[in-house]
């Protein structure tokens, strides 16, 4: 008997993913045809596709419910993350157009792999089944491993990639083992079915406990929560800055999406087990992330530690979701969206300062920037304000929403830790601002502004300030998308 082809409506619901995959393949072909010095055009094509997908998703987000027999849930939640990933991808392309020339790695595969990673993320966010989430995860990870090691002649990049790869492979092994055990316990890999299966089990079933721990470790690595964070500083420092920006924002958001989906939907009945685990991970990430960042001399490593701490803040939302479901999840989601612009912004400012022959990432290299390039310094201040969570910027609203969730759900101690560590965070951000404004320039920082980079930066700054002042639109979108999550 013929195997029934999936109905057209379901296939159409996946149009963004399909569009991007086709585009990626097309780009590989175009790469053959373009000559060496016109490789940048591929970037513009890639940008065009991503923007097209973004606009399409914004106009009518695919709301087809659970399709492909439960493999994919095209609900608000997936749509929100699709938008987030596409924005991140677009910004990454914008900031890497000129950067790749500076680094001499302007090749078509870069954009193809970027698209592959984005598709992987979309599947992770939208996956309705362990299998599709895992495969999405692997697709994203593999492409990211390659992108990290893209600057082949620079040992740091390769070393970063190797470390990321080994840690990633090892952890996906652990995650799989956890998923296998869960499959054994509940007899299914579909999220809803697993949740139903788990509600029947008693909580002190050792296999369930161990499976939860394994899955927590698996996702913990992905969002670089302490103590599974050790790869992040090295990989962020080694990878090309545009990819670091992409990783610290989009990849982390994807991991958070997968994590929220798995834990809040599938493993919700066994919440008592993983609630404490994520609590510990969140607290450790916030404390260690911020404390170690103080002693850093390289700005990229400092931002790596700061992004580890931001993972902690987002986790507060997840932990809070166990008690106050909508408020907690909405907090986590909104925080990731808001944090995306700030962290990408800081990394793209680094790109602004790298130019042929001079790769600045020591904080001391920024001395005197306040006087030599006041506009750049001013933009830096806005991003740092957002990262530190100081009001007029979006970071503050993010932190506010997350802390509100924590207090509403009773995790007051976590909120206090969050509040105290964000004060510490403000300290090292302002130490950088101090170097910029109040110290004499030792080496004169020349900027290599390029139009796309300027456009990217512009978008990010405007987004950070606008989201700070008028977060209503995004907040409503987030609360809507979370409500639908069964």
């Amino acid at each position: 008997m013929a195997i029934p082809a999936p109905p057209l409506s379901e296939v159409l619901a996946l149009w963004p993913e399909i569009l991007l995959s086709v585009a990626a393949c097309a780009m590989l072909v175009i790469d053959l045809l373009t000559s060496r010095d016109r490789k940048a055009d591929i970037g513009w094509v890639c940008l065009g596709v991503v923007v097209l997908a973004l606009v399409g998703t914004l106009l009518h987000p695919p709301q087809a419910g659970s399709i492909f027999s439960g493999m994919f849930l095209a609900d608000g939640y997936a749509a929100f993350f699709k938008v987030l990933f596409l924005i991140a991808a677009a910004l990454t392309v914008l900031i890497s157009l000129r950067y790749l020339d500076d680094e001499g790695i302007q090749r078509g595969e870069y954009y193809a792999l970027l698209l592959f990673a984005t598709v992987g993320m979309m599947f992770m966010a939208g996956g309705g089944d362990f299998i599709s989430i895992y495969l999405g995860l692997e697709l994203m990870s593999l492409s990211t491993y390659v992108l990290v090691g893209f600057i082949r002649r620079d040992d740091a990049s390769t070393e970063g990639a190797v470390k990321y790869f080994l840690m990633g492979a090892f952890t996906s092994g652990i995650l799989l083992y956890g998923l296998a055990l869960l499959y054994g316990l509940t007899g299914s890999t579909n999220l809803a079915a697993v949740a139903q299966g788990l509600s029947g089990l008693s909580l002190d079933n050792p296999a369930l406990v161990l499976a939860t721990i394994l899955v927590v470790v698996g996702f913990g690595f992905k969002i670089a929560a302490v103590p599974f964070h050790m790869w992040a500083p090295d990989t962020y420092e080694g990878a090309p800055t545009s990819i670091t920006a992409f990783m610290s924002s989009a990849v982390k958001a994807a991991a958070m999406a997968g994590l929220a989906r798995v834990f809040i939907v599938a493993l919700f009945p066994s919440a008592e087990i993983w609630e404490v685990l994520w609590w510990i991970l969140a607290a450790l990430s916030m404390i260690l992330g911020n404390v170690v960042a103080i002693a850093q001399t390289s700005l990229k490593r400092m931002l790596a530690y700061s992004s580890i701490s931001h993972a902690g803040y987002a986790l507060i939302g997840v932990v809070a979701a166990t008690q106050a479901r909508e408020v907690g999840l909405a907090g986590a989601l909104f925080y990731m969206f808001v944090y995306l612009f700030a962290t990408m912004g800081t990394f793209s400012m680094l790109i602004l300062l790298t130019h042929r022959g001079f790769r600045s990432d020591k904080i001391a290299d920024f001395a005197g920037l306040g006087r030599s390039a006041p506009l750049a310094a001013f933009i830096y201040i806005i991003f740092f304000l957002s990262l530190a969570g100081i009001p007029p910027t979006a970071g503050f609203v993010g932190k506010l929403v997350v802390f509100r969730a924590a207090i509403e759900s009773g995790y007051v101690v976590l909120a206090v830790i969050g509040v105290a560590t964000s004060a510490i965070a403000a300290y090292y951000y302002f130490m950088v601002i101090k170097t910029m404004f109040m110290e004499e320039a030792v080496v004169q920082p020349q900027l290599s502004p390029s139009r796309p980079l300027a456009v990217g930066l512009g978008i990010m700054v405007v987004a950070t300030v606008l989201l700070g002042l008028f977060p209503a639109v995004v907040l409503n979108a987030v609360t809507e998308s979370v409500k639908l999550l069964q």
Binding site: R152, G160, S172, A180
Partner: protein, 99 residues
């Protein structure tokens, strides 16, 4: 044949893989140990699938094998580019990025 025997076999295989990853300096051996770990997961999945009379496990294993293959490909490519740069296989010599 009780299910737990297969699970024990899978667990042992997993642990050997973990030991291999943590102890061996040579990156190729580490990659092999990671393959071992994935195999262990496959065994566990298939034994569950057998006992639950359900195909999902096997399908999942199929996909895992596919992923493992691609992972191996990328891993070896990375190893080669590492070798080309640092001309060494030992992971503890690869520590330019630290502190």
């Amino acid at each position: 044949m009780p299910l737990s025997w297969y699970l024990v076999f899978g667990a042992l295989l997993f642990m050997i893989g973990v030991v291999g990853v943590l102890t061996r300096r040579n990156v190729i051996i580490v990659l092999m140990s990671i393959e071992l770990m994935l195999n262990a997961v496959n065994v566990t999945l298939i034994s569950f699938s057998h006992y639950l009379q359900d195909l999902r496990g096997q399908i999942f294993t199929l996909f895992i094998i596919a992923v493992a293959a691609s992972e191996a490909a990328i891993g070896l490519a990375l190893v080669i580019s590492m070798y080309r740069g640092k001309s060494t296989f030992n992971l503890d010599e690869v520590n330019v990025l630290k502190w």
